[in-house]
Amino acid sequence: MVKELILVFIATVLVNNFVLKYFLGICPFLGVSDNLSSAISMGFATTFVMTITAPVAWLINNYILVKFGLPFLQYVCFIIVIASLVQFVEMVIKKFFPLLHQSMGIYLPLITTNCAILFMALQLVLKDYSLIKSMVFGFGSGIGFTFAITIMASIREELKFQDVPESLKGPGITLIIAGILALIFVGLGGLIQVK
């Protein structure tokens, strides 16, 4: 049981990395990765929201949507849940952790439109994960995103001292590097097979 959860976690972070394999969270990935500390802050904020979203989505799906035969309201419900959770998390952090809010607060509203969260919520429903597995999956996908964006930020910090062709500066070179990173991660494919 625990072994399976560990495998799910590793698989979600490395083998099925949300950014480099499924193209999720690209907007923040391109936008926030030029600075290492903001990248890490964005990563943690996203992971935090994703870890809470997973069980909430699971509960709403299994105890409300399915029970009342409303599968077509899935998209609307989940996105409302995500938007509300982000709002709620922002309020909580602002009140109880004002210092934290100062450093990563501005990233929170952007997380609502991070396709990774909605995708994660829909996947755990599609694959019919248990509640625990969903939480691990949510946490893992957040960590995977953080991992990718941190690697990218570290590389881009170094890039500042390099001679990047004018036309490729910014998003262009970022995408090319992402391509090389994705290539590396392809090598991890098949390492762990999770149902």
Partner: protein, 181 residues
């Protein structure tokens, strides 16, 4: 106070209108969606049991089994879906077997997300046709050269894992069904 009321009211109104519209659209599209899925399954059944002109659905444990009948209404084969994890994600195979479970009539890979150009060549006729008339006396095995026994198939070059996955999926399902028979 009036402001909050206005906010809550408009949000609720939008939510309710949305729910009503979606319920309606759902009801309208459901028949077509279900028909599409049924048609896809049927096409696969008729592909793997080529002499079948009709079928009857039944269950063996957790699996749906399709008993196939030819044009003279004679029982001519069984079809079922086997699924499992491949190299990338889920692979689903429709398998047609003979009435005595002695050999495979044919298979069709109905769902996969394997690597394009490599693993996903499990849907090519070259690979799928190898399973025609394959003996089920022993477990099916994968070899890298031309098969010498009638329960062997040759793997796709550069896609051994995907090829093995298909074979494992089929073997496991057959084992499971043999128990219930």
């Amino acid at each position: 106070m009036k402001q909050s009321f206005k906010m809550i009211f408009s949000l609720c109104l939008i939510a309710v209108i949305s729910a009503v519209i979606l319920a309606k659209v759902y009801m309208i599209t459901q028949p077509a969606i279900i028909a599409n899925e049924k048609r896809a399954t049927e096409n696969a059944i008729y592909k793997v049991v080529s002499t079948a002109t009709s079928y009857k659905e039944s269950k063996s444990g957790q699996t749906d089994i399709f008993k196939c009948y030819d044009e003279n209404n004679k029982f001519c084969g069984l079809a079922f879906v086997a699924e499992g994890v491949g190299y990338q994600d889920l692979i689903k195979v429709m398998v047609g077997v003979s009435t005595d479970f002695n050999k495979i009539l044919a298979i069709e890979v109905i769902e996969n997300s394997e690597t394009p150009g490599l693993g996903n060549r499990i849907v090519t006729p070259w690979f799928e046709n190898q399973f025609q008339n394959l003996s089920l006396q022993n477990k099916i095995t994968v070899v890298k050269v031309a098969p010498s026994k009638d329960s062997e198939i040759q793997a796709i070059t550069g896609a051994t894992i995907s090829s093995q996955a298909v074979v494992d999926i089929i073997n496991n399902k057959i084992e499971e069904l043999k128990e219930y028979k």
